[in-house]
Symmetry: C2
Subunit: 139 residues, 2 copies
Amino acid sequence: MEKWNQSYGFLLGKVLQQMETKFAEGLVPYHINARQYGVLLFINGNPYSSQKDISENLQIDRTTMVSHIDHLETLGFVERTRNPNDRRSYSLMITPKGKDLLDSRWEFLNDIELEVLAPLSNQERQLLKEFLIKIWTTL
Amino acid sequence: MEKWNQSYGFLLGKVLQQMETKFAEGLVPYHINARQYGVLLFINGNPYSSQKDISENLQIDRTTMVSHIDHLETLGFVERTRNPNDRRSYSLMITPKGKDLLDSRWEFLNDIELEVLAPLSNQERQLLKEFLIKIWTTL
DNA sequence: AAAAAACAGTCAGTTAAACTGATTATATAT
DNA sequence: ATATATAATCAGTTTAACTGACTGTTTTTT
């Protein structure tokens, strides 16, 4: 084992790359990418969010968010309505069709993750998630 | 804690994004990005590699590799010489200047990683690395 | 109440990474 | 000797992300 592949950054990147590539393949029939799936998940978990809310939480640029939402709306997965309390912002909602997509791909996403994490035991995977959550919540 | 931020992919992505952003900032004065630093690390650990070797190991597209190496060569961090046993390929070597760059930023990289991983104990970080290496080596 | 500042979202245009497909020079297989 | 494969390169395309300007709306200041 050499220096260059000892870094967390390198290792994290490789594991993630693997997951993303596989997951993206499973999304092709739905014409969205992994990031858009993430946005949809967020909207599902945080109904009535504005585009700003999502941008901040997911750390995706506001102008990029416009096109993500445009895309999801065109495909009928998300609905934009003006927020009656602040007509500058939208109140975003997932549609039933969007919910179906989420559900139908959620299991697949988990399968992919388990596939990549296969070298770990149940307990190790549990620990890994614990660590990641601990890091993320303090970011 | 909700569904959308429970996935390994999401969490891995956030942690990595954090590390990469911070690390990239520290590389600005050297005019290279994190990926090029990775390439340089690889060449250092695997002297006489061809561009193909690096592409495969780091999973970076061969045509993209051309421009990375062009860039590193222009800056004097890497030297291309033809491989005498196969004149189609190059034999890439890090220069002393490249080695200096690696060394001077290696500690910084580790600082960044420790900073992001601060919420974990020493032991937990050790475990995390163990897990990641286990996964990566079976990819 | 009017004017100024701040804000959410949008859009046109730019930048940078990554890919496609073709090409050159060299090596290997038939 | 000929055909096939390979490493690197290049021109051109696609895509994600960003910059800066702009519209309409809300909040703050005077």
